[in-house]
Structure formats: C-alpha cells, structure tokens
Amino acid sequence: MTIIKEENTTISLLKDISLTALFVFIFTTLIITISGAPPFEAYENIIRGAFGSYSKFGQVIKVWIPLTLCSCGLLYTFKINLWNIGIEGQMIMGAVFGMAAFKYIPGTCPAALTILIAFIAGLTGGAIWALFAGFLKTFGGVNEIFAGLGMNFVAQSIILWLIFGPWKREGIASMSGTEQLSEPLWLSTFTKMRISPTAIVLTVASILITAFILKYTKVGLGLKAIGSNMQSAFMYKLKPTSYMLLAMIFAGGFAGLAGTMQVTGVYHRLIPTISSNYGYLALFVVMLANYNVWAAPLVALFFACLNVGSIQLPMVLQIDSSLSGVIQGALVLATLGVQSFKTMKKKRREYNNSNGRV
C-alpha cells in the first residue's frame, strides 16, 4: 500500500503565491533595469502613487469599483466554462444605455429616480449585448470568444458614432466626449476621497449577491454542473442553452452596471474610452483569483493600486505607465505556469502510484 502524502492546502497555497510573486518580481525588476530606470524607486513610486494621500486612494477605489463589478459578472460565465471576452463591449453598451436614459428622461423627473432608471437601463443594455453573443454561441454555433470580440469592436464603433454624430456637443464633435451631465445627476461623493457611497454599496452588494447565487442557489449549482461536465448535466435534465444564456445575462448585467457607473460617477459624460479596458483587465482578475468570489475583489483592489500607482511614473521617472500592465500580465502568466506544473506533478505522482512505483 502506498501512502500519498497530502500537503496542507494553506501552506501549499502560500508556497504557490510566493513562488509566483518571486518570479514576477525578478521579471519586472529585469524589465525596469533594461529600460534604464531604477527598479526600487519605481516600486516605491507605485506604492506612493496608490496610497500617498486620501485622494489617491480614492482614485484606487474608483478603479476598483468597475473592475470588481466586471469580475462579478465574469464569475458566472467562467463557472459554465464560457470565455466572455465580450465583457468589454457589454460595459460599453451599459454606458451607452445609461447615457441614453440620462439624455432622454426629461429634467422634471427627480434626479434620484433618473439615476435609478439609468442604472436599470445600463444593466439591460449590457445584458442585451451579452445575450447577442449568447445567442450566437447557442443557436449560431459561433464560438463565444470570436462573437464577443467582434461585438466589442461593434460596440466601440457605436460609441464613437454616437459621440461624433447624434450625441455630439453643440457645434464641436471631439474625442473628449459628449456634453457633461447636469450636476444633480452625478453620484454624490464623500468630500475628501471623492468616491461615491452609492457606488461602493452597489459593488459590495454585487459581490454578496454573486457569492450567494453561486454558492447557495440552484442556479449556481446548475452553472457549476454544466461547466464541469456537459454530458452528465444532460442526464440530470439541465438545459445547457438556457443556463449559458442566463450566465451571459448576469455577466452583461454587471458589466452594464459598471458602464453606467463610469458615466454618472466618474466621467459625468460619455467618452470614447469609457470602458478603459477594465473589462479585459477583469478577465485577468478572475483568472488570478482562481475563479473565487472572495479572492476576486482583493485581486481587483491590488490591480487598481497598480493602475493608479503607475500613473505618475512618466512624470517622476520618465518611464511609461504601462508598467502596471506588464506586472499584471506577468502575474497571471506566472500563476498559470505554477498551476500547470503542480497538476503535472500531481498527475505524475498518481500515475506512478497506480503502477506501484513511488
């Protein structure tokens, strides 16, 4: 009889994380050195850029909100094994629908109600856009990655067309976006950090709702069952098609919410780069969080710190702010690498055990 040594999961997790961190640290330090800047000063600047003052940390939270919302949405689609790369376009369409609500609801309507309607509109917009990709996948047989990717670019061209065409500012059409919303339609903010309590409450609620649905409801179980084994799900009379569409609706809804949040809470207008790549970044977040609901907001916070912290790099050290993206990418890649080495090791051990070798 062979005894399989079970590793303590917490310890092995910590081991993996430190291994990944070490790898990324070496890689980034090397890259910064190649670019001719002092690496440790760069790190210090990122930390100071993220935590240096109340307003800077407020910025971090502002990035954290859409990132977390998109990650929440992606958790549903990843659960059923869909690669919802279209989340970026879903966020854009959320912003467009939200903006449409602000634009066409008459000013006599109370501001709070208008904001509420805009949120619902944004949610619907994102969900509709996701549903398109979902239909293409389930009925058209188009891979969700290609469908989503194509829809992203279509969404991008819709927003450009709106900003330069029908919704352009009086007289001038420019990349700076549409006309600003009137001040009552902005989400109210704390004075010191300039972040909105409404947005934070909504985001935290989204995390809790996502956790609840995925862990404690039939829907969550269905998504998981189909995601892990499509064939056996059929035997339990689960309908993959409807569950896939449902997951897409959830993902699009959360992304749309994030889009509207960017309009009313951050930019107060529609700009061409309203989604700021947060949808794509959220894919990184969820992968790095290993598809865990509780880890995703933390990873999102870390990513937000990197993003905001690196903004001042060009001014202080004359290096490009895209360093944050390099670190984020390296982190995900290293995590995937460490993961696969672990599974390979485990498989080899099982194989050896089953053959009576140790």
Binding site: I31, I34, S35, G36, W83, I85, L136, G140, G141, V142, N143, I145, F146, A147, L149, G150, M151, F153, V154, Q156, S157, L160, W161, F164, G165, P166, A173, N277, Y280, L281, L283, F284, M287, P314, Q318, I319, D320, S322, L323, S324, G325, V326, Q328, G329, A330, V332, L333, L336, G337, Q339, S340, F341, T343, M344, K347, R348, E350, Y351
Partner: protein, 328 residues
Amino acid sequence: MEEFNLTILFASVIATATPILLATLGETISEKSGIINLSLDGTLLLCAMTGFVISYETNSLILGFAGAAVVGAVISSIVGVFSIYLNQSQVAVGFVLTLMARDLAYFIGNPYSRIQGPQVAHMPIPFLEDIPFLGSVFFNHNFTVYFSMLMIFACWWYIYKTPYGLKLRAVGEHPGAAFSRAINPRKSQMLYVIAGGLIIGIAGATFSLSTKAGWGRPQGAEGTGWIALALVIFGGWNPIKAAVGAYLFAFLQTMGIHFQSWFPSVPAQVFNMAPFPLMIFTLLIINFFQRESIILLAKDKPLLKTILRKLDNTAPTSLGKPYKPDEY
C-alpha cells in the same frame, strides 16, 4: 486623370495591406495546425517596437527584421508551450500575452518614441515596373510588399501542395489520426506556432519600418492583430482567401477618407470595424451549412451542392483543442 488616381489608389491598397497580410498568413499557419494564437495583436506591437529599436541602434534593417521575427517566435512559443505541453487554455494564455506584450512594447519603447529612424528603401522592380497600370500597382514598392505577395503563394503552396502541408493539415484536423501515422502532433503544432510567430514578427517590423514608420504610443498598429484574426476566419483558413480579405480591408481603409467626406458624421474609425461583423457572419454561415438538414436538402441538387461547397469554409476540426496523448 481618372485612371491615374485609380493607379495610386490600388498601389496604396497593396502597400497598406502588407503588414495585415503577413499577420494574417502567420496566424493562418498556426491555426491550420490547430492552435489559436490570440496573442497576435500585442505581439505585432512588441515586434514593431523591437524592429524599430534594433534597426535604430544597429542601423541595420536586416537585424531589425530578424530581431522582430525572433520576438514573434518567442511569444508564440510561450502560447505553444502553455497550451500544448502545460494543458492551459490557449485562449487564456494568448489573451494575457496580447495585453502584456502591448504594455511591454509601450514600456520598453518609451525612450524611442517619435524619433526619426531607418526605413525600408523604395525598390521598384526593373522592367516589371514599366508595365502600364499593373507595374505601378504591384511592382513599384519596397521589399516588404514583394515579400508579402510571395508569401501568399508560398503559404498556399506549402499547405496544399507539399507532403509537409498535408501533415500540417492532418494535425489540425485530427491529431489522433496523425499520431497513428507516425506524426508527432505536439511537436509539429509547436513548430507551426513558432513558424507563424516568425511571420507575425516580420509583420510587426513591417509596421514600424515601412507602413507606419517610427514608434510611439499609440503607434498606429493597435487593433490590427484583432483584424487579422477576423480575416483568418473570413478567409476560411485559406491563405489566398485570407489575402483577398486583407486587400479588401486595406481597400476599405484607404477609401475611409473618401467615405468620410460622403458621410461626415461618421468617424473614420467606424469603417475599420467592418471585418468584425463579417467574421461573425462567416462563422454563422459555416455553422449553418454544416447543419444536417441543409446537407440533406442539397443532396440531389447539384447546383446547390456546388454553391455550398464553394461557400463552405470549414475550420480545422481540432482548432483550439490541444492534443492529449494517452500516456498519463
């Protein structure tokens, strides 16, 4: 006068299509063997940066192109190793790499932004350039353009007319069957992903050394990789059809300026989105024609059958599904 304009238009279509065309060909080769290299967009930028920086520092265009090709090969080999040997999702790895390579390009290339650098010299082909119309359209460019045109036929010939190409297609269609015919699917997939990466690298360098000479943020090559990815599908994984797609796209892009004067309210960027709806449409058609009811319908209607066969662009069957050998 009219004819003269047309010549310039077509000549500029041929010239602007060059990097997109090369990227499309590189991706076609890799996808034919079954590997989706989603890192295309970022790789192009990183290679554009590498090509420019190396040429600038060493004053040698050849080294620039070579360096870019090596970088392209390295990035695609990462996709290859992760998806073929480490069992990770191709899409995940490719996607991470695309964003990371882009940021890496901006980061490392930052000191070289907006400076005058070397450029590929104009090199009309003697005698051939004197052919009226065709000469100015096809043979009055620089080396990269001729190279890309040659590559279309080289790729097509390799894939469809050589025994190696047959093996390449076999691996993409049915790696298990290829394995039983003494082909190592993993090894050949790895080989073709790297080969595709080399071509993609050259495509990137073509951007910064010829088509949109120079480096900066943004460089102007952003988004081309996604377009190339769409064109591979639009071309039905066939180098010649994909090349037609690339030229069509370049035509649209060149005409964008004219379109804009006709529809002033529509920004030029919108026309660049054309390949994406077309890609989705192509995929829909592919799937539609593979439905059993359609095949049955066309069974004894020769005309319909011919049309279907002409329109049928089947994807390599094992595209995106890495081959798993049976040993553990």
